[in-house]
Symmetry: C2
Subunit: 237 residues, 2 copies
Amino acid sequence: MHEVFLDELKKLNTRFMNMVIDVSEEIDDSTQAFIDHDKKAAQKLIKDDKDISADALKVEKRTLKLMALQQPVASDFRNVIAILKATTDLERIGENAMSISAETIRVKGNKRIEATEKIITEMSQKVTFMLDQVLKAFIQNDETLARQVAKKDDEIDQLYVKARHSIIDGVKADNTAAIAAASYFIVIRLLERIGDHVVNLAQWVVYKVSGELIDLNEDESVEDELDLDTNNSKDKN
Amino acid sequence: MHEVFLDELKKLNTRFMNMVIDVSEEIDDSTQAFIDHDKKAAQKLIKDDKDISADALKVEKRTLKLMALQQPVASDFRNVIAILKATTDLERIGENAMSISAETIRVKGNKRIEATEKIITEMSQKVTFMLDQVLKAFIQNDETLARQVAKKDDEIDQLYVKARHSIIDGVKADNTAAIAAASYFIVIRLLERIGDHVVNLAQWVVYKVSGELIDLNEDESVEDELDLDTNNSKDKN
């Protein structure tokens, strides 16, 4: 019976890791299409949608079945729980990536703001890197790496505030950029949220390895966000 | 032992229900402050933050402890799992409500767009109603009600697209509304996302009652969102 369980758990882990790789690619491809103003690529991405939600549902079903039938304990229990909880975040990341593709289709042909697009590229590269690292931490049971990944989210938050101001400046300079601005605001928020979801993933890796359940997002309060905003806009408003 | 378990489960359910009531209030209060341009109320909300994240962590810890020690089965297992999964969504809803308060503080004193604010009020009332109904469904084990709540999310999505166009029109008419527009885009997105999270909650109520795990968000594809957008902007672009 235990061998059957370990075999099932192995499959579950593989499925989960595939989901992480899929969403990482989705972020990368979606943001690239957005920056390249490549409507066709975005349409293809939406059409070929890897359907992370369906995968998440499958993984959740397997997880619940495994738990109900085998009642795993100790590190096996934590492994299964980590996957069960992490699927919600992976699903959200996938949805956010698809929403970035949707913005590419919307924004095409309108006046753009170059400074903002540079920041968006940087944000995308950083969150994809974070996601790859969190996967590595999951596979290698590396708690330290998971905590390091969570810390990197501060950089995403700073870029988010910077991008926000660059959009406002862009529209003030030329109000024909208003339609593009709508998309920029959405895209930077999506990337910022993806960062938060990656932190949640890191949290579940820490739980899987150590059994400790902690809030790695806790440093990031709304007050901090507003402080950042004020400092950044000091010389602008 | 079973009595101890039932007692613990009862406490867990109560804590969970309190979280739902808390986030519902947070949405209500945050959006009201935003619409009233009430910076003070928003600051108070952020200061008095009910700290949904900390509550979620507590509930998750209790849930995992209960599962590890008591290994619940059948409907008890589903009840515990539903709570474990739903906390992620409640936490996100709470964060989104706090982000709405943050926008109130940012936007104060700038030129506003009245048409957009009307739609925002409507969105907020609808998501709060949905959340109240999902709580009722959870308490009464009412699968039908849970499915009805999920369906109502279509209305939120339609209002989201409508709001988006009203913002673009507002900025085109008067580009001094650009700073306010940044906040509107964020707030409508936050409310739209809250709607999605409520659908997830409904999904876990269905699982709790029936053991069936389904994706109630599945009707809502990115393609639909783009279609909606096109229809809505037909006479505008």
